[in-house]
């Protein structure tokens, strides 16, 4: 499994950045399939107002340990050639991307299943916290749905 150089990205994750990671995987390993998950901040409307963005904080050292553990687990279980996890830290506006998971494998089924399982594990096991910021500057700590 090629080493991933970083987990956290300051602010939103751009489409250009995602494309560059795919190009990197292309040159590192010769997969037959990629699966990509990108999570985007929704402008949800709550009783407090409309979500303008999410401010992310993390226990970075623990998250880095945990991300490596999850990458190894998923790589072995699904026989993947590459696994990348990128998560935003700091403020991400509604309509921008804050989580990217890319898996690659020889065949499509392994890449798709590995990506899907990894996204669920990230939601429950990565020590990251999001605070939804509303249009009147009030905020609420986000809760992940099962």
């Amino acid at each position: 499994m090629p080493v991933q150089d970083m987990l956290f990205i300051q602010g939103a994750i751009s489409a250009d950045f995602i494309m560059r990671q795919i190009e990197k995987i292309q040159s590192e390993s010769n997969p037959g399939a990629y699966s990509l998950f990108a999570g985007q901040v929704r402008p949800d409307v709550h009783e407090k107002g409309t979500v303008m963005g999410i401010d992310y904080t993390a226990y970075e050292k623990m998250a880095e340990h945990k991300a490596e553990e999850l990458r190894s687990l998923i790589t072995e279980k699904h026989n993947l050639t590459s696994v990348c996890i990128y998560h935003s830290i700091g403020f991400v506006k509604a309509g921008e991307i804050s989580l990217v998971v890319i898996t690659a494998s020889k065949h499509r089924k392994a890449a798709i299943e590995g990506c899907s399982e990894l996204v669920e594990l990230i939601k429950t096991e990565l020590p990251v916290w999001g605070r939804e910021v509303y249009d009147d500057n009030q905020y609420k700590w986000k809760e992940n749905n099962p």
């Binding site: 992310y56 050292k61 996204v119 939601k123 990565l126 990251v128």
Partner: protein
């Protein structure tokens, strides 16, 4: 002799409830006793479920807290 203390990292909503990103706590026999001290010292924590981690691993109530370890309070995760 000065009583030994540990520095505890607080994240998410817990940092607000305890008034900062870190807090000082006396050494306790195990995580259970440490939790009791926390809830007594910071009553605002009673309404929130949280885990205690020791050296980046989630600890159980029976675990001891070795001297020099990195201890953190983790509310439910909400990344992604």
């Amino acid at each position: 002799m000065e009583a030994k203390e540990i520095t505890v990292l607080c994240f998410g909503v817990l940092a607000e409830k305890t008034g900062g990103a870190t807090l000082k706590a006396p050494i306790h026999e195990n995580v259970c006793k440490f939790r009791q001290w926390l809830l007594h010292t910071y009553p605002g924590l009673n309404s929130i479920s949280f885990n205690v981690s020791i050296n980046y691993k989630i600890a159980s109530n029976e675990d001891t807290i070795p001297e020099g370890s990195e201890v953190a309070l983790l509310p439910p995760y909400s990344g992604g």
